[in-house]
């Protein structure tokens, strides 16, 4: 059995006295697309923050290719190949579109498949608006800048937190249309979604979370609509 790219082992997370994650175990294989679904407050974003080092943890709670990374800072985690598209995009308002992309390569030392040219190739509209402030774009374009920024570090694992939040269905479709290219170029992807239908379309495996715990796991083919409904809303079978 091959070692997973990333795995969590009894991952817990706290905001002060409030415990948000209660022993989460997930694993992500090389080249896989994982969807994490769940209602508001299920702990999906907290899980992303913990993996990316924005919330400190026990060293062995998170392993990347077998290396313990749970206690590393966000920049150290990024250097090891995990980058995130944060919820709400969080573009830098004083920077242009191009500068927002360039800052994504802040920690990069060598060459990789993702650079300005390849990001512009996937999203040509960004090249036309490269000198505009990032926050002056439409919501969908801003989301593409955020994805491009995360790709600029040439990650092995791309975490996307609530990509479709506040966007029109046609825009969401356009954004997800870029995913096959991202996968082709070697990155594994984790998508945090509230939109179950969208998550099932793109994912190889799905994890459903509720109240800080994983309540269901399987491939889209394995899981029935009823099972997902029950796990998502916490209904006992």
């Amino acid at each position: 059995m091959t070692e997973p790219l990333l795995s969590t082992h009894g991952l817990k997370a706290h905001y002060g006295d409030f415990q948000a994650l209660f022993g989460v175990d997930i694993d992500i294989k090389q080249g896989e697309t994982i969807a994490i679904i769940g209602a508001n407050g299920a702990g999906k974003s907290t899980l992303m923050r913990a993996i990316t080092g924005l919330l400190k943890n026990e060293p062995d709670a998170i392993k990347l290719r077998g290396e313990s990374i749970g206690d590393l800072s966000a920049p150290e985690v990024l250097e090891r190949g995990i980058s995130m598209v944060p919820e709400g995009r969080r573009l830098f308002p004083s920077l242009t579109v191009e500068e927002n992309l360039l800052i994504g390569a802040h920690t990069r030392t060598g060459n990789g498949v993702w650079n300005l040219a390849s990001v512009y190739e996937v999203v040509p509209v960004l090249k036309d608006r490269r000198d505009h402030p990032g926050t002056a774009l439409s919501g969908g374009q801003q989301q593409m800048v955020a994805i491009g920024r995360a790709l600029m570090s040439n990650p092995d694992l791309l975490l996307c937190d609530e990509l479709s939040l506040g966007l029109a269905p046609v825009v969401i479709k356009e954004i997800y249309a870029s995913f096959p290219t991202i996968k082709e170029r070697g990155a594994s992807v984790v998508v945090v979604e509230q939109d179950i239908g969208q998550a099932m379309k793109v994912a190889d495996r799905v994890f459903c979370m509720m109240e800080g715990r994983v309540t269901l796991e399987g491939t889209p083919e394995e899981l029935s609509r009823e099972e997902i409904h029950n796990a998502y809303f916490g209904v006992s079978a």
């Binding site: 990316t52 924005l54 990024l78 308002p93 570090s153």
Partner: protein, 344 residues
């Protein structure tokens, strides 16, 4: 568009001509003008350092006078206690200020926002009280440079023989040129730093610290670098200032009004977070000072009112207002992709 490019080119030429003229001032201008412009240049150096700290790194320090004072005292210690040349004392002043920045950062970085501002102020006051205990340099009443020190310091006899006139005038010319070089070095270093990868990280940090962390920016390391480098620049300037004053006291060297409040005013009215902002700010400040010199405290009231008006109606300062209306840019911080950078 090409009109705008031509205007920008004209502005750059104008700035270069102004710079050339500034270098010639000790040769063609009066001694009073040299002394006045020395004051302007040193205030500009302090303002640009504070601008980097507050305007670009988001660290609103009210304790920069600590570095001015430490720079000044280190220079006096070099001259009086070690018998070194004051010009060497300037370098020692900068290094000493940078060393002081290490413990100051250690404590103040645990604070944020208004607490950071208050913390730096308290640290500066503690530093002032410590230096007031240093008996070898006059304690609370301060001390003066030994008679004739500035007239014989490195470069003064050569300048005197070249320009003619008195040794005091040559000493003023030397400190003026040192201030001009330091001002230029500060501006170029700030521009190069902000155009670098670290500068982009710094600007992202100012916009959103958590998002900056998630793209790999290390906030503590970057802020510590900026804090120490600006302390170094401020310390150099402090030492230079007090070579010209030739007397140091804890009150004068650690004055929050002279070395921090005026500096904040200059940066805010000129344009905080822009490199040309402090240049505009210091020019406005100089002319206001001249204009209102005979009106006593009215001068401070007018400065305060102007500062408030700019904060209310032109948040990006006079330079921001100018660029908004004209679209002209000077010392642009726009990042170029690596391949374009190599081509330039």
């Amino acid at each position: 568009m090409s009109d705008q490019k031509n205007l920008t080119r004209l502005l750059q030429l104008f700035a270069l001509a102004g710079l050339a003229l500034l270098f010639l001032v000790p040769v063609i201008g009066s001694r009073a003008l040299v002394q006045d412009l020395f004051g302007v240049l040193t205030l500009f150096i302090l303002a640009q350092n504070w601008n980097l700290l507050a305007g670009f790194a988001g660290m609103v320090s009210v304790g920069q006078q600590a570095f001015v004072g430490v720079g000044a005292y280190a220079m006096f210690a070099c001259v009086i206690l070690l018998g070194l040349d004051p010009v060497i004392g300037i370098a020692v002043g900068g290094i000493t200020a940078m060393i002081l920045a290490i413990p100051m950062a250690f404590f103040s970085f645990r604070l944020a926002g208004a607490y950071f501002a208050i913390g730096t102020w308290v640290a500066a006051e503690i530093t002032r009280l410590c230096f007031a205990q240093w008996k070898a340099l006059g304690g609370g009443t301060g001390t003066s440079l030994p008679k004739g020190t500035t007239k014989t310091m490195f470069g003064v006899p050569e300048i005197k023989s070249w320009l003619g006139g008195s040794s005091s005038a040559a000493s003023d010319a030397l400190t003026y040129w040192l201030a001009l070089i330091l001002a230029l070095a500060t501006l170029i270093a700030a521009w190069l730093f902000l155009k670098s990868r670290m500068g982009l990280g710094l600007q992202s940090l100012r916009d959103n610290e958590e998002a900056a962390c998630s793209v790999g920016v290390n906030p503590t390391r970057l802020k510590a670098w900026v804090f120490m480098l600006t302390a170094f620049g401020t310390g150099l300037c402090g030492a230079l200032l007090f070579i010209q004053i030739t007397r140091v006291t804890p009150e004068a060297a650690f004055s929050v009004v002279d070395w921090t409040a005026f500096v904040i005013f200059i940066t805010v009215i000129g344009g905080i977070g822009t490199l040309p902002g402090p240049i505009i700010g210091v020019i406005v400040f100089y002319f206001l000072q001249r204009l209102l010199a005979d009106y006593g405290t009215v001068y401070l009231i007018v400065l305060g009112c102007l500062g408030i008006a700019v904060m209310l109606f032109a948040r990006r300062g006079l330079w921001g207002l100018f660029t908004e209306k004209t679209g002209l840019e000077l010392l642009s911080l726009r990042q170029l992709p690596p391949e374009e950078n190599q081509a330039h």
